[in-house]
Symmetry: C2
Subunit: 257 residues, 2 copies
């Protein structure tokens, strides 16, 4: 793909559009236009990326690749407005290709990462999952992803869906445990910063050990004395339920082959 | 404390004894002896640390500092065998000083970290929580910890207990979610390695954002379409229960002020 002829248009102005846009221009791949429902947000992002504001999606042409970075429920609506000859890819983990109206060049460009607007992402190590029924377009998307990441895979919708479930578990749910840990400390006027080295080591340990091998703590040892003592000391209802459930699950998992 | 006169003895041969021992000798603080219930294990650790094997705890003297690195339920038993004039500290998060028989110099030397035998720890950033009723000994322990870590705090038993609960949440429970994510992928013949960049970014995001700010995903957006679709696709019973519970909790937490 020639960097000078591809004209990438970002559809959406949220976290993913922001961070992908920045990653592209960092690799000298220009973003030619930005479309968003909110005029303020699209103006802001277009300015940041040195791109034009797309007023009307119907104005896109076959020289564009439109990257749809909107929430899952919004994809079909914007897709309807984009002329059939435009190549389109979307960034969702859970929407299957067959769930969307067919078109000549429709594909998936899914970064397996948690993306927030105010936190820049180094995409180099982020797995990108690519899919299209159109093999030429699939290859184009693959080449595009390769320019920002070293882990690019062709994967069908079912594989992507399963990976998205696992991603929800190890990112969204893990982050909620960070939140509960933070609440537990705030209640006792203790700084969450004290936990950060532990949180990082918990993640980094997986470079060397499997999650089962990496497990430590009272439930891993089935130390009921400490488990009951800690459980009794937790005031917050959700945290108490989580504590009870995880302690049982961890003890059971350690006994499995 | 003079490095040449302090004679540290490690009591225990598990994960904590291993890694603390290695951290001490790396900082040129010698370990003079190792005691363990298992002869094989104490021989192995003593050899690794260039220390002698302590055959009988009754042989320790007032020139020793005994660091008890055994599980919580085993502390009192070994403590009984150590002569009263020996300075003793233990490494547990959840055992309060007042839960143990009084002695002249009894203290706590608690590293807030997950420690496995086969994973070396860089203690430099690990918070150490120190406590003793004997202020001279408390200070000795503080100086000792300062030689391997830059974050050393005097903290009472209640503070340490609360921190240990939070540590269980953000380490043991988080690690169990890694396990469930791994299981979800194994069932679908997918490599857990694909999740590792996401797992690390989830932890590292906290350098910049609070857990609440860092949250993303279907439950954060209360996207019931995806939530129900993912829930229906999960076969494993525990994972299904966890998915339902966390999705509710995350959506509720996002609505809180």
């Amino acid at each position: 793909m020639d960097k000078n002829t591809q004209k990438i248009v970002l559809i959406g102005t949220g976290n993913v559009a922001h961070q992908l846009g920045l990653a592209f221009i960092k690799t000298k791949i220009p973003i030619c236009g930005v479309w968003g429902r909110s005029k303020t947000k699209s103006t802001e992002l277009a300015k940041k990326l040195g791109a034009s504001i797309i007023e009307d999606l119907h104005s896109l042409s076959s020289s564009n690749i439109a990257l749809i970075c909107v929430t899952d429920t919004g994809i079909e609506e914007v897709l309807d407005k984009i002329p059939k000859e435009v190549k389109v890819a979307y960034t969702s983990g859970s929407i299957g290709l067959s769930n969307l109206p067919k078109r000549e060049a429709l594909g998936v460009f899914y970064p397996l990462q948690t993306i927030s607007k105010n936190r820049s992402i180094d995409f180099a190590s982020v797995p990108f999952l690519i899919e299209s029924q159109n093999t030429i377009f699939e290859n184009e998307l693959k080449i595009l992803a390769t320019q920002i990441s070293s882990t690019v895979k062709i994967a069908n919708s079912e594989t992507r869906f399963q990976l998205h479930i696992a991603a929800v578990i190890v990112n969204n749910f893990v982050n909620h445990l960070y939140y509960l840990g933070e609440q537990q400390l705030l209640e006792n006027n203790l700084s969450f910063d004290l936990l950060k080295p532990l949180i990082k080591e918990t993640a980094n340990k997986l470079d060397q050990l499997s999650p089962k091998e990496a497990q430590t703590g009272p439930a891993q040892r089935n130390d009921q004395l400490i488990i009951q003592k800690q459980l009794a000391a937790i005031k917050e209802k959700d945290t108490k339920e989580i504590y009870r459930l995880f302690s049982q699950m961890i003890t059971a998992a350690q006994l499995k082959a």
